[in-house]
Amino acid sequence: MEYIIERQYKFSLGIKELIRYRELFYFFTWRDIKVKYKQAALGFMWAILQPLAMMMIFTLIFSRGLKVSSEGIPYPVFALSGLIIWNVFSSGLLNSANSMVSNANIIKKIYFPRLIIPMSSILTALFDFCFALLIYIGVLIYYNHQTDWLRVLYCLPLSLILTVTTTLGLGTMLSALNVKYRDFQYVIPFMIQFLLFVNPVLYSSKIFENSWMEWIMKLNPVASAINLSRSAFTGNPIDWLSVGLSFGVSLLLLFIGVYTFRKTEAYFADLA
């Protein structure tokens, strides 16, 4: 085995290295999950309680109070179909954006492909998704909702891929920026709150029909992912144009994110 340590000028993804260190994905994810729930008395119950409580409060406000349209399905089913995707995005983004700073002590002392850190913090968010999915199935049974399971089988994974690609793109970009500019630590939670209202988590994206916002919704990968996951349960036709376009956007985000990350990565140890 012969290799050379020198200043890198050329851009590369470093896929080979990522594969060599693949076990670290598992260990970082496993550690984060373990630490997250270890001290909580209710442990993993929190992964279930959180989306459930969110669903209840949203139902109370938006369905009972504001009478928001839910595309002809019970509002809890409607809200949860958006929330499970939204939670992957929001917690994945928050975790990964802070991941480089919170793991600074490791980065400063040991070399391994840095991309593993933001990537595995998104994997942690996917773990919570699995629990939320269990809840969702429970809710579907409770409301005796007629579900086209075959459609769910391709809509949900597709929606998840779209979400993870977007989260990874934004997450790697923000985590790299966060090392250099600590301002992002304050910007990110605010940004996520803001995005919750811009995305059709709590309302139907139909309310923007025939306005300029419709195009933003079509291009926005998170909105598109939510609509995709939702249409699996409402039986509404899938907007394949929006799915295609937003996939393009998310791939662009992924490229920009990973590129920024790889470009600044070498100096993380000097900066962090």
């Binding site: 012969e2 260990f27 002392k109 070399y111 500019y181 100096y267």
Partner: protein
């Protein structure tokens, strides 16, 4: 045979004189785009300057030098944490370093979980950790607490566990950075033994330490760094001699941060260790800034250990001999020499008292300087002296 490590013209530059924090607040950039343009170009600090050397397989190489000589930067580059600014290193084997003892330890996880986490961060495969698990636990001696969260461990236990994991790495090149400074004497002995074993097993070792006896024990060759430059490379004995001579020859200096006051005070102190153990001496040059009237005075020196244990006091002349009238250009310089007893290796602190009598202190600067004793106080003994047995190795002999 090709060298296992070829370090070729390595250079590492840092920008200094910029922001205080290494990271930048976006505010500064947004608020002051012009200021950034006007700001004078930042100073470039060269932590490593054209350093080249080769290491052959199975060699154990010591990297010595004073603090700030660039040893840590070199190790960081070798382990890939930070890239060099110029030059390149050709490696023909996996490098693992013990400078990261305990990295990735999480206090919420149990000992067992931490072994796996730490091991995998250090580059071990899960299968490898499984294989060595029993040996690691055995070496660390914490088997009873395996399933206890790390936060309930004493710091000594944490360290032992960390070292045990690192010691069972099987890299071709092992980098060790001053890990022995911690832990009790027993554990230190165990660690040195393990390192000896590693070096005898034919693996290549890079060892960074201030502990010259340990360096001599473990290494066959060495490189000596000074201010980022490779000063000398060669056999270990020559390198150690050079380091010892260099440390002793170097003048240590303290300058009062503020001397604008109206009262006379100590404004500069310089020290130098001369001679060899057990007859080494400390030369102290004290400069007093004369501002106001003061009665005839004298000096007293305090020597202590780094952990603030007072060790000894020296009064070169026990009578008020410093008189205000002797000032030249407002300064009086007194050169004193202290006969040091045979002391164990380590860094010691020096304080200077200046006053006219036991009840009248004019200026007292505590622990302002350090000096290093690098030689063993006892000829032929290369094992480090444990601090708990005291700092002074009294000369002794068998009479009958």
């Amino acid at each position: 045979m090709k060298p296992i490590l070829e370090v070729q013209h390595i250079e590492k530059e840092f920008l200094i004189g910029g922001e205080k924090e290494p990271y930048v607040a976006l505010r500064d950039i947004l608020a002051n785009p012009l200021k950034r343009l006007r700001e004078p170009p930042k100073q470039v600090f060269r932590a490593l300057d054209d350093v080249s050397f080769n290491v052959m397989p199975g060699e154990s190489l010591a990297i010595v030098g004073k603090n700030g000589a660039g040893k840590s930067t070199l190790l960081k580059i070798l382990s890939g944490i930070t890239p060099p600014s110029k030059g390149r290193i050709v490696c023909r084997g996996r490098i693992a370093s013990l400078l990261e003892v305990g990295t990735g330890f999480h206090t919420e996880l149990t000992g067992r979980e931490n072994v796996y986490m730490n091991g995998s961060i250090l580059g071990m495969r899960k299968a490898e950790i499984d294989k060595h698990f029993d040996a690691i636990i055995d070496f660390s001696g914490v088997e009873k607490f395996l399933d206890t969260p790390l936060k309930r461990y004493s710091s000594g236990m944490q360290l032992r566990l960390a070292f045990a994991v690192a010691a069972h790495l099987e890299p071709e090149i092992l980098v060790i950075d001053e890990v022995l400074a911690v832990g009790d004497a027993d554990f230190q002995k165990k660690c040195l033994g393990k390192m000896d074993e590693v070096s005898k097993s034919g693996r290549t070792i890079l060892f960074v330490s201030h502990n010259m006896p340990a360096v001599q024990n473990l290494c066959t060759k060495g490189v000596f760094l000074e201010r980022g430059k490779l000063k000398f490379q060669g056999g270990i004995q020559e390198v150690v001699n050079m380091y010892t001579k260099n440390i002793n020859a170097s003048m240590n200096e303290w300058i009062a941060p503020v001397t604008k006051g109206r009262h006379s005070c100590i404004c500069k102190v310089q020290t130098q260790v001369t001679g060899t153990q057990p007859f080494h001496k400390l030369k102290v040059i004290t400069t007093i800034a004369v501002k106001d009237d003061f009665p005839a005075s004298y000096l007293s020196f305090y020597i202590g250990s780094l952990d603030a244990v007072p060790l000894m006091e020296a009064i070169p002349k026990y009578e008020p001999f410093i008189k205000k009238e002797a000032a030249v250009d407002g300064e009086i310089t007194i050169i004193s020499e202290l006969d040091l007893p045979p002391m164990i290796q380590g860094i010691y602190t020096l304080g200077v008292w200046f006053g006219s009598s036991h009840t009248h202190t004019i200026d007292w600067q505590k622990e302002i300087l350090t000096f290093e004793v690098t030689e063993s106080p006892m000829e032929g003994r290369t094992i480090e002296f444990p601090k708990h047995a005291g700092f002074i190795a009294v000369q002794s002999r068998v009479l009958a």
